[in-house]
Every structure is written in structure tokens, then in C-alpha cells.
Symmetry: none
Subunit: 226 residues, 4 copies
Amino acid sequence: MLGNWMVTQPRRNAELTRRRILDAATREFAAKGLAGARVDAIARASRANKRMIYQYYGNKEGLYVAVLEATYARFRGRERTLRLAELDPVEAMRRLVLFNLDYCHAHPEFISILNNENLHRARHLKRAKSVPPLHATLTETIGAILERGGANGAFRSGIDPMRFYIALASLGYFYHSNRHTLSAIFRTDLARTATWRAYRDEAVAMVLRHLVPERGVDRPRGRGIK
Amino acid sequence: MLGNWMVTQPRRNAELTRRRILDAATREFAAKGLAGARVDAIARASRANKRMIYQYYGNKEGLYVAVLEATYARFRGRERTLRLAELDPVEAMRRLVLFNLDYCHAHPEFISILNNENLHRARHLKRAKSVPPLHATLTETIGAILERGGANGAFRSGIDPMRFYIALASLGYFYHSNRHTLSAIFRTDLARTATWRAYRDEAVAMVLRHLVPERGVDRPRGRGIK
Amino acid sequence: MLGNWMVTQPRRNAELTRRRILDAATREFAAKGLAGARVDAIARASRANKRMIYQYYGNKEGLYVAVLEATYARFRGRERTLRLAELDPVEAMRRLVLFNLDYCHAHPEFISILNNENLHRARHLKRAKSVPPLHATLTETIGAILERGGANGAFRSGIDPMRFYIALASLGYFYHSNRHTLSAIFRTDLARTATWRAYRDEAVAMVLRHLVPERGVDRPRGRGIK
Amino acid sequence: MLGNWMVTQPRRNAELTRRRILDAATREFAAKGLAGARVDAIARASRANKRMIYQYYGNKEGLYVAVLEATYARFRGRERTLRLAELDPVEAMRRLVLFNLDYCHAHPEFISILNNENLHRARHLKRAKSVPPLHATLTETIGAILERGGANGAFRSGIDPMRFYIALASLGYFYHSNRHTLSAIFRTDLARTATWRAYRDEAVAMVLRHLVPERGVDRPRGRGIK
DNA sequence: TATGAATGAGCCTTCATTCAT
DNA sequence: AATGAATGAAGGCTCATTCAT
């Protein structure tokens, strides 16, 4: 008996099971949506059993909320590593756009989960306590870069951070969220690396170009306007 | 009263019933997705009964395919009324962008249905015989405008029609497809008309600006920039 | 207008439709049983429509009863053409056995319909007014042959007509009613003509042999036995 | 009371539930056929619930196949207890015939299930992996008895085992499979014990008589017949 | 903590039958 | 006489969830 417990399952097994369930659930919800996902499938894929799921997450919807929170946390967590405040405004913007494009490319489950949540009119997102803090400083961060760029003449002034962010985000998101229908419509395969790279470059250019000051407008001309 | 009965719809009208079912189904699939939609709900909402649905559309999936086809047909049908070929390139582009933005705004079901179809990896779209012809000339149409603009100096040259169209389409699509999560994140309501109008204008500007030739590149300007 | 009605459908169309429905129903009930048969399928196969079926036969069960009656009528009708009373007893019996064997071979629907009716414990047969008269003289007919044979020394005496008829009928019926499972079990194909012929000959022999008087029993042989 | 609880069936017992479902299903399929049987009725009768049926047997057809296999297994299992090889040929045959007759009498579900399976052209039987082995030695067993009987002069020679077995089996099978229609036709009740006994004796006699060598053929007898 | 067994509600689908023309 | 449209009831099957061990 003595010392035997060390040989048996490690004590953090519970935490591990939770995690395995969450991962499997993320895949299942991303692949099938909330209504299409099967609790059985999640139990099987996570090598846990259904009772555990209910133990840890209450019910299917609770599990879905947990998946949603984790999905947002991963995304914003990565975004925060960009350290945009430390960069030159143009460089910061380029990095932000690229991050958005690349994240959508690398994380199809992010797209799927968000699409599904929008189908449900963000009902679960509103229940997710951990999400709002993640975005608390987002507008400010973007706004600060835009202002710095405006101040040093790199950007036009008067650009609204939220509107700009939405436009910026849309470019990578849509390409991937709609890649199956678009591929069918254009009779090509958007998943091909070359196709994606070309689009990505164009998207970056498009966003940055949008920030460039108008010729002879933002570059003060004598006494000011009016 | 007299002669009035001829005007009222006959109790038995196959075409009308088909149509009522299709309309109700479009709403239900848009609101709940394929898996979440209930055949019962569609029967009730269409004032038909379940048996009729199976009579006319085979099964739930067949009905979904029909909805998908009708949804695409409406969209491309409207798009074709723009008569872009007859317009000045810049004006044509502005109209195309505006159409895309406004259609997404006016037709939330278009967004939902497409999102759902992408969840299913366009499986049903590939079965929909009537869809490919709708897009047969899309790339050519865009390409022709871009070329005309390139020829008269209004646009940069070398822009790929498909990439450009995807970028263009993404701006309105994403705003609406993700309006619920974005509204939650930014603690605002993207459905407000003013918010939408402001975004819309910026999106138009962004796309058109992207087409404008580079200073000193397409139109050489003395010394050049360093 | 004049004389035109001759060109249109013949007046006996109704009778023809009834008949087409009955034939199609016989095939459907034989192939699928009462529960498995589909009114739709019968309507389609008879090139009539469902309303006609209900017009002529009341409902599915009424149609089934009609099929049952027609099936028995055909069988006994053919049997009556054998004119057994006019034949030598041995020849009459041979002919009766052969008829039973061959009818089962030629009319699989007879087997199927009867099997199905037995599944229903002859519930519909009891409702079928036209059937009892068909069998009114069956026992007497068999009994008469047996008696004639007994009298002229060709058959043993004391054979019960009903028991004998059942045994006789079983040989052809079972071979065909169970030909699919038997074919699977014996890994052969009972539908092959040669296989059937060989069985048929043996069955005839078996029945006739059964009628032959015992040696030294029915034909007293000197002083008694042993 | 003490220790008694170990003996009572546990509330959760998969094997028992499986068995209860199978038994109830056998009764239902025998009474109504595959198409007429109701999964609901089986669930109710087995004191299980529908979900369990699908858990254990996949679907209605899977359950039906299981019933079919169990039905054949019971029959052949009993048959194998006859130990025919150890008996005198005549006695062995008598026992085999009696067994067949009595089994059909005692197991109406055997008849019904087989009839139904033949309606489906043995489609499910072919799927039933466990059935072919049950019959692997059937022909050989019968053949061996016939040969032994031929060798010691008790039987005619040249009798084909399969044909003989089919004829033998038909006698009991048909009487019971068609007892409802036959009872109606002959206006008697074949279920009455006396009626059955009398038939049974005659059937045994018929089969055994068929095996007896011909007079003056197998055992040459002076002048011969003309 | 972990798990196989069990369940009731509900979903998609089908069917026999009737209505309106 | 004939037909396409319509319907309510029910059947097979699935799912999220809970029970008993």
C-alpha cells in the first residue's frame, strides 16, 4: 500500500480530463455547430465519459460557453503578445493586420465557433464573464496607434478605431469563413498556399494604403482649412 | 362579394404551397442552421403540413438545398441588375461595392445561410445544379471593369479580379455576419443606422482608394520619392 | 362531336381499372405482405390513382380481401378443371398431387398471399364470403377417390381425406414457400429446374406409395401373419 | 433476508436486458412480421425502452436478424441433441421426423419467423453470420443414416438427403404454418390435440413407408411384376 | 473519480386516407 | 370517372441527460 498512490493516476488527472474534454469539444463544436455537435462524440473523442462532461461543465451549453471563452482567450492572448505599443505606427499596423490574417488562417476553429455564436446572436457570449475584460483595451490600443501615426504624419487623421478594426479583421475572416463556398463559386481552391499568400499580401496593402494621408490634404497647406 | 371568389387564392395551389414552404424554410434555416432547424416549425410557419414538405422537397436536406439555391439566385439576380458594363469604371466599382454592402445589410438570411453552408464545407452547394451558372461570368465582369479602369488611368494595373472581389465582399459580409459578437465586444450596437452608415462609407473609400494608381509609380512625377 | 365518344375511353374502362388495380395489388401484397404493401405503390403500378382504389375497394384491407378471394378462386378454379371423378383412382391421385406441386411452382403469389393470411390468423379469410363455397366439396372429392381406390384394392382403406390432403399439399407448398431459406441453408438453388423436377418426382412417389396397401395386411394372405 | 439481495437481479444488467428485448422481439416479429412489428411494442413488452433496443441491436432490422439467428440456433440446437448417429437407422429416422413435427407444433414462432424471412427472400438470413455453421453437417447427418439403412436393407438405396429432408420437414411445417387457413377451409380446428395427433402419426408413417425397399426390386421375389 | 445502463422527449419521415376540383 | 393536393396519426430513430454501481 505504501507509496503506491504515486504509481496510480497523477493527482492532476482531473485537470487533465477537463482539458481533454475542452479540446475535444472545441473540435466538435467547430465542426458541427452547437446544435449539430454530439455529447457522445465529445465523450468518445476526449476519452472521458459523458458523466464527466456533466460533472465539469454542467450541460452541453455550459461546455459550449467554456469553449467560447477559451477560444476568445487564446485569440486575444496571442494578440497581446504583439506589443504593438512599442512599435512604429506603420509597423504596428502591419503587424496587427498580419496577425489577424494569419490567425484566421491557422485557427479555423476560431472562425467556426464565432460563426456559430453569431447564429445564436451572441447569446452565450453575453453569459461568458471572462470575455469582456479581454477586449477592454482593444479600442484604446488601436486608437493609440492611429493617433501616433496621425501625429507623425504617417496616417490620415480622423480614423475611427472600431470601424477600422472591423474592416481590418473582415479581410482575413471572410476569406476563411467562406472559403468553401468561394472555392466552389470560383472553381479554385482557396486553401492552396499560393492563393492564400497572394490574397494576404493584397489585403495588407489595402489596409495600409487606406491609412496613408491624402495628397495635399492632410499635409497642412498654409493657414489651415475652413 | 360578387366575382370576388375568383380573385382569392384557390385552396389547392401547388406552386403557392411550394413557395410558402420555401420562404418559411429560408427563415428557419437562417435563424437556426440546418441542424437546429425544425421541420415541424417550417410546416407550421408555412401553413402547410409536414407531408407536403416531403412531397415537394424530398427531405430536410433537399429543402435546404432548395433554400440555398434560391438564396444564391436572389443575390446574383440583383447583382446582375447593376449593369456595371455600361458605367464608367470608377462608378461601376463604387456601385458594386455599395451593392455588396447594402445587400448584406438588407438580407441577413443571405449571411446566415452562407455561414451555415460553409460549416458544412459547401457540401450542399456542390449538389446544387443551378448555382454554378450564376457565377459563370462573375470573374469576367469584375476583370473587365478593372481592365477598363487600368486602360484609362483610373486604376492601378495588375489587380486580380477574384482576390479583389473577395476583399470587397468581405467588408460588408463580416460586419453583418459578426455583428452580434462585435456588438458585444465593442459594447455598442452595430445595427444602429448611423454606425452602419459610417462604416459603409469608410468601406467604400477603402476599396476605391485601393484601386487608385500609386503616386510616382503609375503616373511618374518628376523626382520620385525616396 | 358526333360519334366522338367511341374514340374516347371504352365504357368498360371501370371494370378494366378494377382489374388492373387487383393485379397490381396481388403483386404488391405477395411481394411485401399486408403491412409492408404500399397503397401508393399499387396506385402507381396499376396506372390508376389512389382515389380509385378507395372508390372500388373501400380501403387497404378491403383490397387485400379482394386479392385473397381472387387468389383462392383461381386456385380452386384450376383444380376443378382436373375432372378427377372421371379418372382411375391412382391416376386421379397422381394428377391431384402433380397439380398441387405444379401450381405452387407456377404461382408464387399463391404461396405468399396464403402465408400472409396465416400470419393474420385467417382473419380476412373469414370475412371473405366467396371462399367457403369454393371448398365445399373438396373433402368429398378426395374422399370419393380414396374410396374408389380402396374398393378396387389400389389403396389402403381407412385414409382420412383431410389429413391426406394436407400431407399431399404440404410437399409442394413448403418447397416453394421456404425456397429462399432452404436454398441458403443447403447452399444450392431450389429454383433450378432440375432440382425442382427431381424433388417433384420424389414427392409424387412418396404420396402414391403411401396409398399402396400393406403387404399381407390389406390383402389377406392365407392364414394370418406369423 | 440476509444475503438475499445478492440473488435478486441487479437493476442494471445489460445481458438480461438484451435477452428480454430479444424474447419480446421474437414474439412481436412472429406475431406481426417485420413490417408489422412495432419497436414501441417490443420496448414495452420487454420492460426496456426504445433507446436500449437501438443501443444493443442497432436498428429494427438488426434486431430482426438477431431474432432470426436465435431462432435457428434454438432449432438446430435441439435437433443436435437427438444423437441420431447412435441409433438404428429406422429408429433414427422416426426420431428425426417426430422431432420435426413436434418442434413445429411446440414452436409457432419458428414457423412465423421463417415465413417472414422467406417473404424477404432470405435477405437477412444471408447477413446472419452465425447461421451457416449450424447447417454445415445437416446433409451429411441425414445422408449417413440413409446409407446405414441402405446397407442393412432397411431403406431403399439412392435417396437424396436434401430432397428427403425437405419432404420430411414439409409435413409438420405446412400443417402449422397454414393451420389458420386450413382450419377455415375444412371448417375444423387443426389446433385440437386429437386432430394433430392423428395427422402426426400419419405423417410419420408416410415418411417411413417411403424409405422401405420396393417389393421385388431391392429384395427380388420370384417372378416379378408385370 | 469514474462508468455502463437507462430514459423521456422530440425529431425526421412515412402512411393510409380524404378533400376539392 | 378521374386526379393532384392535403392531412393527422404514427413509426423508426436519436439526443441530452440522469441513475446506479
